[in-house]
């Protein structure tokens, strides 16, 4: 019996998901509850367990595609139904001719390929090109990506170095070696065929556009005019436009999304920026007095951060236009105050959200923020933790910064940063100089939603709240 698997809903407000990676290929056996696909939404990537045991029969949605929740993404043949039909040999369900996905034989096995596709030490019949002929495997073995992941995982040091030096994207190089392995000569041939094209494919092309610009002629030997050694500079080419060697950090799904969101936000919302200086000496002293007791009672360290969030929430209540979003129909002033807090989690940036932040006391915010930061850093944050933010705070001071110009979280009117608290001489009480604990608070705002007047009023309000002596009960 075939079971159709649909795009799951990962989180209450999630309406679509992206297939990040298929962990199984058609023909693979799957145990019930065994993860078989990675789905990503926003910044969460989750492995999806199979609801049934069986054999993956068909992949409907390919990697990288985004579909609404509920859309069929794959078909699994349940155990017992699949075998007798597909495989007279009994066990060989995985040997069925899967047209789109090459079956890579285990090491040492003779690869089972159609005879015309035999790679055999390709011998040029009459080509004048003597040694190291680049002869591509006739007949593309698969319709999708040029190289299955197995090939890219088995890249020799020489190939890696030559690819880097010549800026060749290995996913675009057809391997002529054993089991489709990319050889050093393949890379050199690719480099010789078009350094510029290769460079473009390697650096600029998005994954979707790689294929057409791939510098590979799928058939035929290297044109005799193409110089093989990459060092040879073509006439008219500057000596200095050769790519600078470096290492490539592949994009994780999260990094891709971060990049995309940052560009979107910066291009969509006209950012304006403003800052106030806040004297937090009293707040600092209070925190010093209370932190031990707080840690004892609540089990969370007391920092200035929850005080800051609390003050931001109160200021948002006073200036509701700062808790709004610009949409085509107009400016939508939001009824909920859901504060996102920016958290660096490994190499990624996450913004988990404290929902209904206006319902919490300072102590409550301390506990909530602590939980979310812990979740984010341990990778346990879920889609619901990351969605629905209406305003963002960023504790940039934790990294020692005293000034920053944050990028808005898409769909929000403002983001404030809490910079590092530093002692500075300041003028107080008319013309006296005192050493005070000073805090810079920076605000980036969506200028479509608010203007400088409201933004400044909001910041000044926030400043007043932070400077007011907090009550003993917080």
């Amino acid at each position: 019996m075939a079971t159709t698997i649909t795009m799951p809903q990962l989180g209450e407000s999630v309406t679509e998901g992206t297939v990040a990676q298929w962990l199984k290929k058609p023909g693979d056996a799957i145990e019930k509850y065994e993860p078989f696909v990675e789905i990503s939404t926003d910044k969460v990537t989750a492995e999806v367990p199979s609801p049934v045991s069986g054999v993956l029969k068909e992949i409907i949605v390919k990697e990288g595609d985004t579909v609404p929740t509920g859309t069929a993404i794959a078909v699994i043949d349940e155990v017992g139904a699949a075998k007798p039909l597909d495989s007279p040999a009994g066990l060989g369900a995985s040997n069925e001719p899967a047209l789109n996905v090459p079956s890579t034989p285990a090491f040492g096995e003779q690869p089972t390929r159609p005879p015309h596709a035999t790679p055999a030490p390709a011998r040029p019949q009459s080509a004048p090109q003597p040694a190291r002929p680049f002869v591509a495997r006739p007949g593309s073995r698969n319709g999708g990506a040029l190289n299955p992941p197995e090939v890219l995982r088995r890249v020799s040091p020489a190939v890696r170095r030559l690819a880097r030096e010549n800026n060749i994207d290995l996913t675009t190089v057809r391997g002529s070696g054993e089991q489709g392995r990319i050889t050093a000569n393949d890379v050199l041939a690719a480099a010789a065929q078009g350094p510029a094209a290769a460079m473009a494919a390697g650096i600029m092309a998005a994954p979707e556009t790689r294929q057409p610009s791939a510098p590979i002629q799928p058939t035929g030997p290297v044109s005799p005019s193409a110089p093989l050694p990459p060092a040879a500079t073509a006439p008219g080419r500057s000596t200095y436009d050769r790519p600078i060697p470096g290492t490539l950090v592949p994009l994780s799904q999260a990094r891709k999304i971060i990049a995309q969101r940052m560009v979107e936000s910066k291009h969509t919302a006209p950012h304006a920026w403003t800052m106030v200086e806040v004297d937090v000496t009293d707040l600092w002293n209070l925190r010093q007095r209370e932190k031990d007791r707080f840690q004892r009672e609540k089990g969370v360290a007391l920092t200035l951060f929850p005080f800051f969030i609390h003050a931001v929430v109160q200021s948002l209540k006073a200036y509701p236009l700062m808790n709004a979003r610009f949409i085509d129909e107009g400016i939508q002033v939001l009824k909920e105050i859901n504060v996102g807090i920016a958290v660096a989690a490994g190499s990624n940036l996450m913004v988990p959200v404290i929902r209904h932040a206006d319902n919490y006391s300072v102590a409550g915010l301390a506990v909530e923020a602590g939980k979310l930061i812990e979740k984010a850093r341990s990778g346990k944050v879920g889609a619901d933790d990351l969605t629905g933010g209406t305003f963002t705070v960023n504790n940039t001071g934790a990294n020692g910064s005293v000034l920053s110009a944050p990028i808005l979280n898409g769909g929000q009117a403002g983001i404030v940063t809490m910079e590092a608290v530093v002692k500075r001489p300041v003028v107080v009480d008319g013309d006296k100089i005192a050493i005070r604990s000073m805090l810079n608070v920076c605000l980036s705002l969506d200028h479509r939603v608010v203007d400088g007047a409201i933004a400044s009023a909001f910041l000044v309000d926030l400043k007043k709240r932070l400077q007011a002596v907090p009550t003993a009960q917080f």
Binding site: P121, R123, A131, R132, G177, E178, T183
Partner: protein, 334 residues
Amino acid sequence: MALATAGTTTMNNVEAVRHTLYEALKADPKTLIMGEDVGARGNVFLITKGFLEEFGPERIIDTPLAEASIVGVAVGMAMEGLRPIAEIQFADFIYPAFNQIVGEAAKTRYRSNGDYTCPLVIRTPYGGGVRGALSHSVSIEALFYHVPGLKIVAPSFPADIKGLLNAAIDDPDPVMFLEHKKTYRLVKGEVPNGHYTIPIGKADVKVAGDALTVVSYGLYVHQAIEAAKQLAADGVSVEVIDLRSIRPMDKTTILESVRKTRKLLIIQEDNKFGGIGAEISAMVAEEAFFDLDAPIRRLAGPDVPAMGYAQTLEEEFMIPTSRMAATMREMVAF
């Protein structure tokens, strides 16, 4: 290489050894040969036949069957200024002399702070494939390879034998001169006339190619060249390097070749574990990692105590040319 006289003479390997020894004895009265059966019998391969009559019993010395004494006495002679060429009748018998070679000869210069050197040549036939069984087939190079202070050469072409044997005799320090006994009468070649030397520590590219580097020495160089010819007939060019000198190792030639071909196959008759190929592999992995396009491979003898006498056992031990060619093809196609 300094050529005194123009022209060449065709010789096989055993003739090249005999010819070079004879010239050395003629040229320098301090040279002498000592070993089992080198005098009256003229050596078991007839290398020194007639030498006793021509040079007399003080320079062509028949010794008892006592390898420790052969090398020990030779070490003393060398330290005192003679140029002894000690012969171990078969490499399989060299073990009693191990202490004299490793403990004395190799350390003389160091121990005496340079006051004494030990210009000693130890010649010995080694290697299998001749139905020599347990005690006439062994490869000993790896046992001595580990020892600083020893030079080890194993040329297998007549011209290389002459040049390197002359260099070994001239060398101020101990040199082990290994002669693959199966090549003795099997390999013929042109040998330049007159005195010349080939520097110890210099390998020779016997066949140039760009798809694969094959490093070997001794008998197997000849088979590797044969295998490379078979591949060349199919348009695949394999580079074959004859080490000639096992220690010092010619890193430069090996690395230049590997950087060109990006693939390395080492073929040795000696058993695999801890052998010459292991050192070459490690050296290349250390120095040319980012040039490698395939795992380094070694073809070597099996790790068994000795080569069996039975034809089947000997054939199992020795690597046939067909297997060399097949491995080369695999590596080229990789």
